[in-house]
Amino acid sequence: MLQVAGQIEQAGDPTELNSLLLAGLVERLAAGPRFELVDIGPAREATIAFFSQFHCRLHIEDAIAALARPAPSTDEEEAWFEGRLKALLTPPASVGEVDAVLCWDLLDHLSRPRLAAFATHLAPWLRRGAHLHAFISTRPDIPGQPAGFEVLEASTVRVQARPGPLQPAPRYHQLDLGRLMPQFAVERSVLLRNGLQEYLLRRH
């Protein structure tokens, strides 16, 4: 595969994001007696240490990398991805009681049909009014693999990009999210300095 200079994401030092919407979400969650949180990403030392100061149940799904992978065959894409969702995102015992889901940059790595299937699979887990937090790139290209995210403080998220070829970003907008994820509504979004748009969606 021909790679053009400038289209390779280099492994660099991790960067820290000032994540205002996550900070607000954590503050709201912590105001209650207890909360239930789903992290779609892999287990990270800092994230577990951060949430260990709250009375909560943290479900770690470790599914982002596998959900972002291409299907072995384009003919079987839809059925294959449905199967991956069922196998990788096993519902917690408390279906319908989850207060928030951390998706990190997964949405950037899902095609439109996959994004719709993901929202359909996930929505029943959440109680009404629960939140989904995500970052979506506004840049034309994104790394081929999802980045690593971990929560350092309520308002600080450390991001480690993975090296590799870049790919076109889907650049989902608010209207796209409304169409593809009708179970949710965008409650707030903030453009961060590094070109990521931070989204907080609310379950209808």
């Binding site: 007696p33 577990i48 949430f51 260990s52 100061q53 909560c56 470790d62 015992a93």
Partner: protein
């Protein structure tokens, strides 16, 4: 049930002559002290495959395969790098360097080392996961009094004893917490 109290092969007793005098300590009393036993943890070796319920009152290291349940209540369990466990585990401290499939109830803490690979749920006051470790499951976070974030997010004592919604194997259920008291 396999009772680890019957495992004595790693329990050693030091003779009084082995006592190392401290240069800064005051003169030893004339009366000879009784030697205190120094217990090494009991070990299941890498070639052992055990099926059943394992319980006991001493620390334990597993390098082999275990299927069933492990209950050490007041003692520590280490699953070594070669350990392959399919069991629900209760111990004071649980350290995982190998593979574990099952739920963990740590009275004090659960530590998953970077070589660890865990599929299951954790209930413990303190959970540490080293970067590189693999974990899929849920963690019931129950910070000790005074450690909870601000005033919010803090559970009442009754709530912290189990608001789980699943069956007995689900962390945070009243059944489990009640059993720990």
């Amino acid at each position: 049930m396999f009772d680890m109290n019957n495992l004595k092969r790693n329990t050693t007793k030091r003779e009084p002559s082995e006592e190392v005098p401290s240069s800064t300590a005051p003169a030893a009393p004339a009366e000879p002290r009784a030697a205190s036993p120094v217990k090494e943890p009991a070990t299941i070796g890498a070639s052992i495959h055990f099926k059943g319920d394992l319980s006991g009152e001493e620390d334990f290291v597993i390098q082999g395969k275990v299927e069933g349940t492990i209950n050490l209540e007041k003692n520590n369990l280490t699953i070594g790098k070669n350990g392959r466990i399919r069991a629900n585990v209760t111990a004071n401290t649980i350290i995982i360097e190998g593979q574990l499939q099952g739920d963990m109830f740590g009275n004090e803490k659960v530590i998953i080392r970077k070589s660890g690979n865990v599929l299951g749920n954790i209930v413990a006051p303190r959970v540490t996961l080293e970067d590189g470790a693999k974990f899929k499951g849920s963690i019931e976070m129950e910070p000790k009094a005074g450690e909870a974030f601000g005033g919010g997010g803090k559970k009442s004592e009754a709530e912290s004893r189990g608001t789980g919604t699943g069956a007995g194997a689900t962390p945070g259920t009243p059944d489990f917490k009640g059993a720990q008291q």
